[in-house]
């Protein structure tokens, strides 16, 4: 009680609010600007904070605000412009479809409301659970973490609805590409092709951007129209209506938030997993699941509630055991140690007031971000009413720079290009992309934790752990449940289609493939490419030691088998259409063939033009030279709008990335070659 009073006393001081606002505004910047993570910003700030702020409570307020409140406004890029981050993939999958329906304001309002509830639930749980959390954290060992991650794999069944074979193949492909890098159990450098930059695996930002964002940007730009249809309600009052919707669902939000707290409290379960698991759990709890994957607001809310509450969960091992629960909390722990504050029992004793200050900061900070979102994000939502070329002219350079900044290597560019092509092909030919990302995120968690558990306990030891057994039983039940759900959904989707032939969807439906005898079709290109790629992958895998090759080889063979089945289905099936898949379809599909091809070439040209200029990006002139014509010609913007936008991007490139971050730009190979200086 004394600690609560002591902590509350801080609320009456100006310095508390200054620190809180500073932290919240930085977290907003982190959420809105692609490529700038909380860990990077906090590690830059930490020495400054520790040596300039005498009172540790004030420093912890600022750092906890950055670590604990950056999961709300990061939804804006995912919903409004279709650019997800590592932790907003569900929000993108469901939320961007809602934005396409003209419901961006409503969706964001609802997200803000559940994020606030999630943040407060996380803070309250932190306060209540911290004295008793230690046995829970210690009882969840490696094998249990692997099984928890397997729950996400069950989601592949759901995410593959309408295209089961494609979905499973995509999921396996995700796991396969996640094997790239140094295998920690054999030391083999898998799929690194002699590049040190790939030792740590493929970068999440470049992969997610390539698979999701770039195809979306190109597709929408080709339509030349805004994200939202004409007449969409884009107003603050619509946002408030959305918030009201979120508040009305408080019971479900609290349920999802509590799940988020527990998942966040387990060290090793990453943020990228939590929104998928929360989404899966939410679907599991629903009777009517037909809406998910087609732009379900509830689906967004399931993920967002847990995303915000997990910060309270991640604070638990940080404060109770000195084990950072998440990336941002690494820096909070580092700051505590620098101030001489020990985690563990002291956080409930002599430093209990600091624990309570962090609790209050998480709660108030999340409410503050929500308020800022509700009152200040309307201009950003209006972007959905702008012709998309005007948006992509700015966003394409930004996402390329984000991938570059994340990896700190020019290697991010080819990775981005490759995954953009993969994403574009998948999107165009109706292969669901979410299972690929899910496999990419979950694969290593399952593999590493299970292999470690086997090393520590042996096979018998693992399969006789009571908690592992209980979770495995629950997993089997879930998989059976999801498979039945998938079958039912597919059945209902097909019957709905039969009765609704006159109204074909060009948005989320897979391309109609009604081949009745053997014939070549453009859609064959994906399984053929997969088969070719997997033969190469299997061939390359053979070079690795037996233990290191087992997983990639098995996955390659499995994908080949699935691709062959899919190819045969496409060639010989009487009717291979599979209704709606859980992904965003091509919006430009309805356009006339020649126009579409010309536009696609044009967009790819712009994309590669910018990529080419990144070969010497440390010059602000590039941003102007590329952006101005783009905005003037493509975006039909006025010259001064183009100038202002160009200046902002140039300032970002030259000021932040070049001067402040001293990004290592690629060598000016192209320009040197052009001037004969090589």
């Amino acid at each position: 009680m004394e600690a609560i009073l002591q902590a509350s006393a801080y609320l009456g001081t100006l310095i508390y609010w200054e620190a809180l606002f500073a932290g919240v505004f930085l977290s907003i910047a982190i959420g809105l600007v692609p490529g700038v993570g909380s860990l990077l910003v906090m590690s830059i700030l930490l020495p400054f904070i520790v040596f300039n702020i005498q009172d540790p409570a004030v420093a912890l307020v600022m750092l906890a605000a950055i670590a604990g409140t950056n999961n709300t406004l990061d939804s804006i890029p995912a919903v409004v412009v279709g650019v997800p981050s590592g932790a907003t993939q569900v929000t993108f999958l469901e939320g961007h479809q809602l934005a396409r329906q003209g419901k961006a304001a409503h969706t964001l309002g609802a997200i803000y409301a559940v994020s606030a509830i999630g943040g407060v639930v996380g803070a309250v749980c932190l306060a209540i659970i911290i004295p008793i959390i230690k046995p829970f954290i210690l009882s969840i060992d490696r094998s249990e973490i692997a099984v928890i991650a397997m729950f996400g794999v069950a989601m592949v069944a759901v995410l593959s609805r309408g295209a089961m074979i494609k979905g499973i193949a995509a999921g396996l492909l995700g796991v396969l590409i996640a094997t790239a890098g140094v295998d920690p159990f054999t030391g083999a450098r898998r799929f690194t092709f002699g590049q040190i930059e790939l030792w740590e695996g493929l970068p999440l930002v470049a992969v997610v951007t390539g698979i999701f964002a770039i195809p979306e940007l190109i597709d929408l730009t080709m339509t030349r129209s805004p994200v939202a249809p004409a007449g969409a309600i884009i107003s603050r009052s619509e946002m408030f209506r959305g918030a009201l919707y979120g508040l009305k669902h408080w019971k479900e939000t609290i349920r999802q938030s509590v799940l988020g707290v527990f998942l966040g409290a387990i060290p090793g379960v990453g943020s990228g997993v939590i929104d998928w698991l929360s989404y899966a759990f939410g679907i599991l709890c629903r009777k009517d699941r037909s809406e998910f994957g087609k732009g379900s607001l509830d689906g967004v809310l399931f993920a967002e509630a847990a995303q915000n509450s997990k910060e309270g969960g991640q604070a638990l091992p940080t404060l109770a055991l000195g084990i950072p629960g998440g990336t941002g909390w690494v820096m909070v722990l580092a700051a505590m140690l620098m101030y001489g504050i020990s985690p563990g029992p002291p956080m409930l004793g002599q430093h209990a007031h600091l624990t309570m200050i962090i609790v209050l900061t998480l709660a108030i900070g999340n409410l503050l971000v929500t308020a800022i979102g509700l009152f200040a994000s309307a201009p950003l939502i209006r972007l959905t009413a702008l012709p998309y070329p005007a948006i992509s002219a700015v966003v394409i350079p930004l996402v390329i720079l984000a991938a570059f900044l994340d990896m700190r290597s020019w290697f991010a560019i080819p990775i981005l290009v490759i995954f953009s092509i993969v994403g574009l092909l998948m999107k165009h030919f109706g292969w669901p992309r979410p299972p690929l990302i899910l496999g990419f995120i979950l694969g290593p968690i399952i593999d590493i934790n299970m292999q470690t558990a086997l090393s520590i306990y042996g096979v018998v030891g693992v399969i006789t752990r009571p908690l592992t057994i209980a979770l495995l039983v629950l997993l089997v039940i879930t998989v059976v449940f999801f498979t039945r759900f998938m079958a039912q959904a597919e059945k209902s989707s097909t019957s709905a289609e039969d009765t609704n032939q006159a109204k074909p969807s060009t948005d989320t439906a897979t391309p109609q493939v009604t081949v009745r005898r053997f014939t070549w079709h453009a859609a064959n290109v994906v399984p053929l490419l997969l088969i070719g790629g997997m033969i190469v992958s299997a061939w390359v895998s053979l070079e690795y030691p037996v233990k290191a090759r087992a997983l990639p080889l098995t996955l390659s063979v499995g994908i080949i088998a699935l691709a062959v089945i899919e190819l045969l289905r496409q060639w010989f099936a009487v009717q291979t259409n599979s209704g709606q898949i859980m992904d965003l379809g091509m919006r430009s599909t309805g356009m006339e063939g020649a126009t579409r091809a010309a536009l696609l070439l044009g967009e790819l040209g712009i994309f590669f033009l910018f990529l080419a200029t990144t070969i010497r990006l440390d010059n602000a002139a590039i941003a102007f030279a590329v952006l101005l014509p783009l905005l003037l010609l493509e975006g039909r913007r006025r010259w001064y709008t183009a100038m202002i936008t160009g200046s902002i991007l140039a300032a970002w490139t030259y000021g932040f990335m070049d001067y402040f971050m001293a990004v290592i730009w690629p060598e000016p190979v192209l320009s040197l070659w052009l001037l004969g200086r090589l």
Partner: protein, 365 residues
Amino acid sequence: MMSYLRLLPAFLLAVLVSVMGPSIASGLDAESHFKGKTIRFVTGSRPGGGTDILLRYFAGNWGKFFPGNPRFVVTNLPPHVHGLNYVWRSKPNGMTVFMHSTAVLREQVLSQAEFKTSQFKFIGDIGDRSFVMTGYNLPINNIKEAMGKKGPKLKYLDVIPSPDDMATQAFQLMLLADWLDLPMEFGVIAERGTSVTLLEMERGNMNVMVGGSGRWFGFPKLRPGWIAKGRLKPLLDMTFLGQRMGANAEFKDVDKVPHVYSLLNKKQKEIWAAMIEATQAMNKPVVLSPKTPDNIVNVYRSALEKAMADDKFRTGIEKVSGIPAVWVKGPQAHKEAQEAERLWTAYRKPEAKLRRDMYNKYIRK
């Protein structure tokens, strides 16, 4: 399509402008060489780690000890060998400097390494070099009490993917287990670090660990009372080159902890020096690229000397890293690196064999 062709002149203009960048200054007048410049401070560690935080402290505070007060900007280039290669290839103009998280030599074993440790220009080595083996919840007071016994089992987890890639700490514990007949068990994990180690200890999956000064001096803060109450005990002093570990806030009787040298015979000591100490003996070496002119190297060495003589700067190091702000001067660090490389090179073949033997004995079984 025509509209896209209209972008071509703009693109060519951009390319033209881009090649007209400023050329790098040459010739050295220390003040003008560094004034208004940005020095890239590289590390192979990821953002947020101990080395990264110490580096950022240096980046924010070291510049004022240089003529011209240059600005430092931190660049993380993991893995370590990537960062080292970058500095090795960098222009020798003093605008790129590197801080490693342990001895540079350890990375030289990798086929991708382009550098030779002894050819870097050493500015200094920051931090205390204590290296200690500790036991958690064990009924023994030091490692001697476990020698030749069947139990209690000493359980250790580390990154041990293959004989060549196994972490040096794992290799050194295998050598000790073999030489001293210790009841040790080894397990393989995918990641390492203090957090992972503490978590695995509290889960009961491991009960011995080895670590440098960051861990040894950090324990009283990270787990207050553990050492004082005997829950965590220093079992063996493994500080390099026969030096003694330092006393931390909860443990002062460092002389009572046996030193590894006292338990090894002459041949074993030789192997230990070449295979274990050579690759780990430094703490956080600061280096410049190999062809950096001596006058620039001297500016750096002088700046480090001034900084380490400054109470405020040293207090800052202790605050951010938790370790005593001691250091080894550049020429001495360079000598140590040369000697370490000589020894290590001489023992490369026997080391490979010994690593395989240890791996087969304790991991493959």
